[in-house]
């Protein structure tokens, strides 16, 4: 029998449970051997759904790490545990796939990065699912081929469907606010299309609470627009929203000097069109899972393959740090109201207007 990667999943909430199922059933070269979660509900689910398939269930991460066979750990619990568990796992010699963000704190994220760097023999990746989406890959291939010329302007949005409850307000408390939590995906894509070595020149942002006033207490908004200008004449602009009526509408366009490519400009959750007295109607996915489920499955498979075959991961951990830095800059620009400026080696500088006055 071909060797399978022995995987453990930490955290069995909504996202972690999906990871567990993906490694259990949809990643042929992996074997899910262990899973842990401190919560009663998650444990109960794991005992009925995972245990019968031979997965050992634990109540704590530390206990789980004693399992003798684990080769790789999927860190998918609460955000504040992402960094500590990733670091422990790396130090224990395990490969790690950590859900994004590593941390909402840049210094802590950097620490994970540094620990990972000290173990070049291990594969450490953070989960930017859109990088595994077939449409984004096809678009990237087109951009790479030179078909749109030089990419110059990048626009991307992450728009969640509205909810009638207060979910987003509670979520904002720990997620690190809209640009850091949602736009970070779009920022990552901008770097993917423009080049990971792109250097930010300026950042500006505005936002508003149109539906969830409770977000204000966390300095957060439910609609945010930001512009990131890069040295070398490249512009990315972003829109993040927590109240889209129609569903989850994440979309991107890359404009080059000879063409444009769009990804998901016209969303649809199936191939059905409804011809009704009121018009022709298409339904769209309601959640990020509706949109990105196949990408998460591909992520599991490619992470497994990278470890088993010692292949390079599709992107480097440093990119996650950089995207977080830019997301944080947007957040600061939103919070302070000020436009932020950076020099060509990435250092924060004062703007031309202030410089003229001083």
């Amino acid at each position: 029998m071909a060797r399978k990667l022995k995987v453990a999943v930490s955290g069995l909430g909504r996202m972690g449970a999906r990871h567990a199922i993906n490694y259990l059933e949809k990643t042929p070269r992996a074997e899910l051997v262990a899973a842990c979660d401190p919560g009663a509900e998650a444990l109960s689910w794991a005992r009925s759904r995972l245990a019968p398939a031979g997965v050992t269930i634990y109540e704590t991460f530390d206990e789980m790490m004693q399992h003798p066979d684990i080769e790789a750990v999927i860190v998918a619990g609460i955000t504040t545990e992402h960094a500590p568990q990733s670091i422990k796992a790396i130090r224990a010699g395990k490969h790690v796939l950590c859900e994004k963000p590593l941390s909402t704190d840049l210094a802590i994220s950097q620490e994970v990065f540094d620990v990972a760097k000290s173990r070049p023999d291990l594969k450490v990746m953070t989960g930017f699912s859109r990088r595994f989406d077939q449409s984004y890959r096809n678009a990237r291939k087109k951009v790479d081929s030179g078909a749109i010329g030089r990419p110059v302007v990048f626009r991307s949005q992450t728009c969640d469907k509205y909810r009638d409850d207060d979910y987003f307000i509670g979520y904002s408390k720990t997620s690190g606010s809209i640009f850091v939590d949602a736009s970070v995906h779009d920022i990552d894509l901008a770097l993917w299309m423009f080049g990971q070595d792109s250097i930010v020149k300026s950042v500006s942002a505005v936002g508003t609470c149109a539906r969830y006033q409770g977000l204000k207490q966390y300095g957060d908004v439910d609609n945010g627009v930001g512009i990131v200008e890069f040295w070398g004449g490249k512009i990315a602009y972003f829109y993040a929203c927590r109240m889209m009526a129609v569903g989850q509408h994440d979309m991107t366009e890359v404009i080059g000097n000879h063409g444009k490519v769009t990804i998901n400009a016209n969303p649809a959750h199936d191939l059905v069109e409804h011809h009704e007295p009121t018009g022709i109607r298409r339904e769209i996915g309601q959640t990020y899972w509706d949109r990105f489920e196949p990408a998460f499955i591909r992520e599991s498979n490619e992470f497994t393959e990278a470890v088993l075959d010692d292949k390079p991961l599709p992107f480097h951990l440093s990119g996650a740090i950089k995207s977080m830095q830019i997301g944080s800059a947007l957040q600061e620009a939103l919070r302070t109201g000020e436009k932020l400026f950076f020099n060509e080696i990435g250092e924060s500088v004062i703007g031309p207007g202030l410089a003229a006055r001083l």
Copy 2:
């Protein structure tokens, strides 16, 4: 001042009134000088809308024809008057644009054709509005360019929006039933794309009354599907419907051995898309006028130009006769339930099955 064509419109019902307005206001090289209708309502409209602009209004066609300046007549009244008025006008030396059909009776249509033939100095045209539609013209140009290779299969539909009243039942009484009234447009387009000299090999048709049972008394249906096979390996198939929920959806596709072109596969009455909790919705036009108004205006202008500059008309009257013949064959195939067969010179023949038995 440049010379303008002096035009008269006969019949000021829904269609005729639109023609009158088009010649009055949207055909710069034409001047509407006269109009007639026997109905009180139409006359009242004409007196308030047309007369102030200098148009003389008549109650009868014959009186109107005494107007000394008329050069061209638009015949747009009830179907049974199409042929007699067209013939009178031609015999009086007027150019004629006659609404389709010339007649629901093939022999009478032929008579108009023969009279027109006797006056080659006059422009006589029947109103196949789709021939003037920009999208159909663009598609035709593409087909002509060879871009789809040799056209082989043609599909076209004329679908009216349903109505809650009995309109279609009354209409059926005089319109000549669904294949003759509605599909005739699609048939005309098939000949345009395949070549006017295409010869029918076989015809079959089925139909059903799904919404308007009253159509049965006239041998008519509210949904009809027919196939017309042409000698030389070309196939046209048609769908006509009187109960489309979404609106007027007339569409066409032409399939060549190297490509395909569609016309109005995705209808929309404007450029607006509605993102709503139930999905993304586009509205479409509700009537043929919503869809073809610009084509009717172009028709008026090109007819006027053809007369003033003695240019050839964009298509020949014989095509209208041929389309009617094919429409009538579909209707007969529907009525009898039988497939009809024709030889390579267009004569009706018995089918191979019957031939084998006899």
Copy 3:
């Protein structure tokens, strides 16, 4: 560990190999234990791809059937072996999923059906993949909900991308010609939407060889159009094509008296749109696998689930027989040129025209 269904796959050509991989890697509740194929190339592939995962490989079906653990057999080899192997497997007490068609010969198909009927304890299914497609299921759900009213007109097409070689000619030799091989899927969908108990009233068909003249020797065509009229005022019409330029374009529309639903009217193989100097372009899938891969995976999983949990299969074997009968009638209508007629208990009768003459 949860019990897994032990599956064998017979035939490892293009389709069989895909089935093997699906049962090996994408059907969590199944275990692929055996596979067979008489061909050297397929065997070589199986030995390197399947054997390392613990699958026993055989050169003959009969040898494979000696494997002690097999509970279910997937019959996916050449068409002429579908029926004999299915019968053998059923008689050996195995559950069977047989690729379509059971046979191109109606009598042989009926025999499989009869054998299956004698073993009601076994699950025997034929592979109509579109029944497992999410979009078709969503559309069916909408039709079932009454949202479009009563389904009246059904249009469906199966269009393969053209090929520059002679593949389709060789394929035609054994596949049973275009209506039986391709349209049978559309026919099955018509029955799904109209009701499995729908009774055919008349059948007519035409066809042409526009690209592959070699098809003529097998009485086949590369473009076929057919109409199937059902008793009760329902109409289905079909288009099958072997030369579509753009790719695989299988689409369907169901028209009810209060609405319409379309499936894949606007195909796209990803969510990317290309804005180029020549226009806005979407790419579409090139093969049926591009379109239906997820449906095949769902088929494997649902077949497995039906066996393990003794649930009813999503559709009955009799439907496959019925679809084949209708496909054969279309083929005969094409071959003879005649329209075929049937009475309300499904018996072939002479048409009204001939009846009048006799």
Copy 4:
């Protein structure tokens, strides 16, 4: 005969000539009596195209203004003449439709406004063509109906097709740069959707020269992105581009807290779709005229109607001033690199960061 408005057109360049034709042939209630242009080519065109229809042609504006019948003047010559001619015409008691912009200089624009204000008996309008576009009007109606809730975020773009020559560089010299020339349309739409009384809170902008380096000499760019934040929690963001590959792609979306409406998200210049081996392709319009011709015709008709029937114009001249002010602020934000701030009565203020330092 019904009274017709006697109109004169000043400037017969590309735009002026179109206005002249619209008033001559497509505005039934108007009569084009005079036209002027100082250029030989334009005069030659006017003499052959307009004069035969009874239009008197002049070489200078002042001479034309001596024509005794003129009631309204269309000012459509070079931008620097917009204001002086409009002022002269108003002072001469003529109704005026002035092409946008009144002036690239805010003070001069204000002067036109003041002069117009002194003659409330005259209709003075500036040509924001999108206000007359049917799709924008339908969208506005939907927004007004409350169907999307409260409009919160507005995105709009004006994207011209690239050119292989230096046209845009020369054009930039007099047009007042990209935000003032192109985005001003989008800004006007934002005010239309958010309310004309919306007050700007902050403005930021970035830009780049990706294709036309020569624009730099005029402080202009070929790609610009800007954000305008309004007091009350409303956000508008804009993209302007001079190098779109596919054609003219002007589009808009209005996002409310309960829905979204888009205008021209999926452009197409006709209803044709091309199914080709490379995919499915739609062509789009190449120029603003391709997109907005019907809007210009409606503009002519509504302006004429407003004068003849003394109806209010569809929007007030003050809006044009306001849009220009916002466009100029974006341009300044681009030029200086700084974010600009305004208080709740619209006065320029220093930003919070600088305030903290001072």
